[in-house]
Subunit: 310 residues, 2 copies
């Protein structure tokens, strides 16, 4: 199992490469929420998301022998860019299997970091087949986006840094997608309760923790496009054991929370990052006067398609 | 005249109230610009702009006797909110003369800080008449938005903090409106050259420095709505003596630079803040491989009217 030692080692491992992101506060949002909010700003992380922490830790954890044929994954999003950058920093080859309908900006980012991209159709089957073909051909080491101890330990470094800076938190809120960030946060929290936040339209983790078994999302539908994936075996086990509970919120409250953060804090967060903010704003009694840590997961938003009504 | 001592005293005076804003960097923008950029992020300052530094310093510089009848100004924008907040922190009354066509969000902010607002028609004459009436009635101390030594010293604290954090800057770029921020930056720069950046559609400072006398803007027209005002006697004197030069940029390059910062740095800057960024991107040879400080003046943007084409 992953313990605090692994997360501390991850902090040292990624320190030369990752940003130590700032913890920001905002009096206006505090008043709105009725508590004190401490935002750990992974939107300012390399590649614009916490994903770089895990990818960097995983890549630099590999022995020379394990990485000599490069690393590989399938991803349409931030994990692809994060792995491509991390591999380039270790002068290793990255092979990314990407659905051919991935956003242009993501394709360009991955290619810009020097990764070799294999295109596939946008189905899970095609992605897995594509990855199997790449591994057979190259012998690259697979780095799963979340169901991987090195990834989880890396993602946990954000909460560890947050707690170093603000030791007296009463609770930490974190968005839940595949569970890499939320698992790492639970393991780094050192006794501080961790509450997950999920969109109602992709509440597989909420239902899985209720049922005591993994219930994958079927046709998830939410603006929080970073939280569509379902838990893996490893992240389900960690969350089952360590997460206090999960709060779900609807898309209008996510968009509203996102706009409040943009307007009040002058920082760009993606819809997935607004999910825990919405969870606080929708449950003010629960957090009244507490010191609430919020992991802001990323800031990758297409500016030409903003959800703010004119 | 205002010297480094006044700026150091301003740092101590505002420290309990103002944010020490972060200095952020971005590899992607560095590559784009061909130099190393260090952004002093006053968009994260209280009220969303550097203006709070000057207002706070001016308000807390006043003796008990000088402030007992409150403070007053006319402003449609950030100075009004900054002065209102600073006065409230000193438990003093703030009287703000605001044009009745000011943006709703600005009106709400000023009222929210407990200021007494006097509405006037949106002309300079009506604003000055309104202010004269308020002063006659209340005996409040007038705090000019930029042509005031306390304001200038306060605005200079941003550059002082930037240089404390990054001592080896080759140059500092700063937007020029009425000249409060740019004058303070010149006086705090301690030998580091300061270059102003102005929109072509509001280039009164550029023309004034060329002519050796104040040439006010007539019908300025630019998206950088924080830079419409013309220099005052005091700021003109400081810039004439201390500013290396002024670079002007057109509105399309301002919008483009603003978008690059939003996309790459995940932070919201207003068009006025993008003016010095555009100045660097439009003059790459001049800044090649240098360490360039950029004062990001603010982040107050109406999200419903963004200039990014769909």
């Amino acid at each position: 199992m992953i313990g605090m030692d692994e997360i501390r080692r991850a902090v040292e491992r990624i320190e030369p490469y990752a940003h130590r992101t700032p913890v920001l506060t905002c009096r206006g949002l505090d008043r709105m929420a009725g508590c004190r909010l401490f935002f750990k700003c992974e939107n300012f992380q390399k590649v614009g998301a916490f994903k770089f922490r895990g990818a960097c830790n995983a890549v630099f954890s590999l022995g020379e022998d394990e990485i000599k044929n490069g690393v590989a994954t399938h991803s349409s999003g931030n994990h692809a860019a994060a792995l491509a950058l991390a591999a380039s920093l270790r002068n290793a080859k990255a092979y990314i299997v990407m659905p051919d309908n991935s956003p242009e900006v993501k394709k360009a980012a991955v290619a810009g970091y020097g990764a070799e991209i294999t295109w596939c159709r946008p189905t899970l089957q095609a992605r897995e087949d594509g990855l199997a073909e790449v591994i057979a051909r190259t012998g690259a080491a697979v780095i799963h986006p979340y169901n991987d101890p090195g990834i989880i330990a890396g993602q946990g470094t954000a909460a560890l840094e947050l707690l170093e800076e603000v030791p007296d938190l009463d609770v930490i809120l974190v968005p839940v997608g595949g569970g890499g960030l939320s698992s790492g946060t639970c393991l780094a929290a050192n006794g501080v309760p961790v509450i997950g936040a999920e969109p109602q339209g992709a509440d597989d983790a909420y239902r899985s923790l209720q049922a005591g078994k993994i219930i994958p999302s079927v046709n998830p539908d939410t603006i929080a496009d970073g939280l569509l994936t379902s838990l893996g075996e490893l992240t389900f086990a960690v969350l089952s054991k360590h997460m206090k509970k999960i709060i779900t919120v609807d898309d209008p409250s996510i968009i509203s929370a996102m706009r409040h953060v943009w307007e009040r804090m002058k920082m760009i967060i993606e819809p997935s990052s607004a999910v825990p903010v919405a969870a606080v704003l929708q449950n003010k009694n629960e957090f009244s006067n507490q010191h609430v840590g919020v992991i802001i997961s990323g800031g990758n938003v297409e500016l030409s398609g903003l959800p703010f009504a004119r």
